[in-house]
Amino acid sequence: MIIKRFGAGIILAFMILFLLSGMFLLSFAGGTFNMEAAVLGIIFAVFIIVQYNVLKGIFKHLERFSLLIADFLCIISIVILYRIDPEVAQKQLIWILIGNVCMVIAMLVIKKSHDFGKLNWVFMILAVGMLGMTLIFASRVGGAKNWINIGPFSFQPSEFAKILFLIVTAYFLSSRDRKRDMWPYFVFTIACVGLLVLSRDLGAALLFAGTFLIVFYVGTGSVGITLGATAAFAGGAFLSYKMFDHVKTRVEVWQDPWATYNDKGYQIVQGLLAIASGGLLGTGLGLGMPEVIPVGTSDYIFAAIAEEFGIIVAIGIIALYLVFIIRGILIAMDARTKFDKLLVFGATAMLSLQSFIIIGGVIKLIPLTGITMPFVSSGGSSMLSAMMQLGIIEGVALKNGEYEEAELEEMGGGVA
């Protein structure tokens, strides 16, 4: 216990050091001192110190490592975004602050709630409604229709549908013993995935389908149905490969991006060039050219990070996601109700699948599907959604802690 606390403190100190040195480096990058970068860095540093200590103070059973990893990913995000486009970084900082509020709300809601009962039907209608609305009203960005503009604000409904999807998933898999009673949930999943495919948001479709398969397997333990459903999704994927040219293009470009480096393969080639240009140790912050990478602040931010911080840091980020996953799954295992277990597991699985899909796409391990990198990519919807998922994990962690404490008291023991 002591070592854990001590460790977390040291990690926090390193993170702050990283943030401040990064931002101060950027403030000197132009030759003259740029106050804005330094101020932004200091504000964010203060915020993180306060956030961590306040949350730790209020919530005795806070899961520190998951929070710190999310914070560190946000720090990297702010530094690299400021490097590419200061304006985007400022917006991102605001989204991180709002995201933290969402996280705390999610924590408290999850801590107090049981399994939302009949509300799940509302959630289902809401999620399908949001995705359907996207299909009808959304504007097309980068080949996918996933943005809705309301006045000056634009948001991606699929990001919020994710949260609802996770809750509904946990509800049905925990409250119904027989699979045939889960049919509304199956219909719901197919509707979500189908609407996403029709909106051409392939990344999100893959994410929903993948999360469904993983959580369904864990919740029911039925290997047969999981494999069957996997085959069905694979068949659907193959069908869409045959039917839609944009899917075919994705696969062709993945096989040989260099053949069409000038148009279709441009993004992948530019990403690979950025990674190769950085090499093992990176060009150093401010010395690369990540601004030439298409959507370098969003989907392709991993390439920008690899270029300037090097492969070492890039692999470090992959490792951080892995630690995050391990912590999340440990909390899921610890949870007392089946609903809580599956909710936390689902949130963790979704975040990890999402980071795998986008990082794998950028480094050309798998075909590229546009999706954001959790906690790192710029964008409000994505940040809020990731923060809410973190809130879900933290909320259940709090419950676990309280149960554990109660049990220890019952046994007459406990820690001083």
Binding site: G219, L273, G279, M289, V292, A319, I325, S352, F356
Partner: protein, 460 residues
């Protein structure tokens, strides 16, 4: 009674899966950067190189005899003095704006010194260190001669030493002047396209080299045909330029009889033809270190009429002048194509850091078949369709080609000649094409003879 699912166990399984996935992610990233990082970084498409291109420090591009073709003087990029020479080599040398794919772009890593040490790649530029001097294999004077004698525009000529693979001349028209490349728009006849490596044409009768090789390899040479100028092969009409009468394998090649070779291809069948075509490098993804060569195409449909046309270089057959030249070079070199190259030498401050060593690219036919086809190609120049390539004192072997295409509803002909000099002292292979220039024997063949004679005069 149904068993309750064991959530913890299932989660542990998934945890294992995730661990594997993320370890794979990290290892693949590390592997691909270590294995391909340098190659990726130095591709001409990397804007980081062109952005940090400091013309002041760029090395000089010379031809094989030390004639400077692009050099920096007073912070400006200068080119050969004669405009004809500048234009003749413009596709090979390239431009500094990245409009064409020439040495300025392809060898930027040497010219700006990036190849020395990838870790120091940016430092070398910042410290003002001068890049390397690049020596090309081409002879600029020979290119200028070709440029001046090429009447067909658009058109292309490529000349290679078939024993070493050195490209001695490569000219593509229309061309551009590097001094005005910045303002030039692409619209005017795609002048930035290097037709030698990027122009895909139906090979026409030059394809008969391939069909003949397939026949020899499969032992199908006893076919005899009465040519009446046209014939219906499997429902498709195939026409000949004249009535060749009774022809056997050898005379059909010399006279370039379409009826004979169309039927021969049908007799060989889809698989045998496709196999030989693939062996020749059709449908192959060329990845040469020195230049980008577009891939040639040979398809079969299962329809025998299509196969007859494919056997005489029509249907969906497509080839670049470079690849077609390489095939005749392979015949000349006993069935082995040497790897074509345009980079001869790179020198940093006088000391050579790269020197080309000839290497084999691929074997397209056994030596005895190469000798057989050489004989047919020799006869073609001696008393067949390519007599105008006969230059007297050396033996020229060749094959003409007239490739039909339709433009604006009008049937036109690309004029082809591919061939080589059968002489160990003058190992020259050549391909000439004139777009829409008519019969192969009219334009391409005499021009090829002229160029070969001049090259030999120059000592090649």
């Amino acid at each position: 009674m149904k068993k309750k699912p064991n959530l913890k166990k299932n989660m542990r399984v998934m945890l294992g899966v995730f661990c594997c996935l993320f370890v794979l992610l990290g290892s693949y990233l590390l592997y691909s950067t270590v294995a391909y990082g340098d190659q990726w970084f130095t591709t001409p498409y990397n804007p980081r190189i062109s952005a940090s291109k400091n013309i002041e420090n760029a090395g000089t591009i010379y031809d094989r005899n030390g004639i400077p073709l692009a050099y920096t003087e007073n912070g400006e990029r200068k080119y050969a003095e004669s405009e004809d020479m500048r234009r003749a080599v413009s596709h090979t040398v390239g431009d500094i704006y990245g409009k064409s794919l020439g040495a300025e772009t392809l060898f930027a890593k040497y010219l700006y010194g990036y190849d020395q040490n990838v870790v120091d790649k940016f430092n070398s530029v910042q410290s003002g260190q001068k890049g390397g001097d690049v020596y090309l294999t081409i002879d600029a004077e020979l290119c200028e001669y070709i440029y001046d004698h090429m009447n067909a525009d658009p058109g292309a000529v490529v000349l290679m030493n078939y024993e070493t693979g050195e490209i001695l001349a490569s000219v593509s028209k229309p061309t551009f002047d590097p001094y005005t490349a910045k303002e030039d728009t692409e619209e005017s006849g795609a002048k930035f396209v290097n037709r030698v490596t990027q122009g895909l044409y139906p090979p026409g009768s030059t394809m008969k080299i391939l069909t003949a090789a397939a026949a020899l390899e499969n032992g199908v040479t006893d076919l005899e045909v009465d040519c009446t100028g046209e014939a219906i092969i499997e429902g498709q009409k195939v026409t000949c330029t004249s009535q060749h009468g009774h022809v056997d394998f050898a005379t059909a090649f010399e006279k370039s009889c379409n009826i004979y070779f169309g039927q021969l291809a049908v007799e060989l069948g889809d698989n045998a033809m496709l196999e030989t075509a693939n062996k020749f490098g059709y449908n192959y993804n060329f990845q040469f270190p020195d230049f980008t060569l577009y891939n040639s195409q040979f398809n079969v449909s299962g329809n025998k009429g299509d196969l007859a046309w494919a056997g005489i270089g029509q249907y969906e057959d497509l080839v670049t002048p470079m690849h077609n030249m390489m095939i005749s070079a392979g015949v000349a070199n006993g069935g082995v194509i040497m790897q074509p190259n345009t980079l001869k030498d790179v020198r940093y401050g006088g000391s050579s850091s790269f020197r080309y060593t000839p290497s084999e690219f691929r074997t397209i036919m056994p030596q005895n078949i190469a000798a057989q086809i050489t004989e047919y190609m020799r006869n073609t120049v001696d008393h067949g369709t390519a007599t105008s390539a006969d230059i007297g004192n050396v033996t020229v072997c060749g094959k003409t080609g007239t490739a039909e295409y339709v433009e604006d509803g009008e049937v036109k002909n690309h004029s082809w000649f591919v061939g080589f000099v059968e002489d160990a002292a003058h190992p020259l292979a050549i391909a000439v094409i004139g777009e829409g220039a008519g019969f192969g024997s009219r334009y391409a063949t005499p021009l090829a003879g002229e160029i070969l004679a001049h090259a030999i005069e120059m000592g090649y």
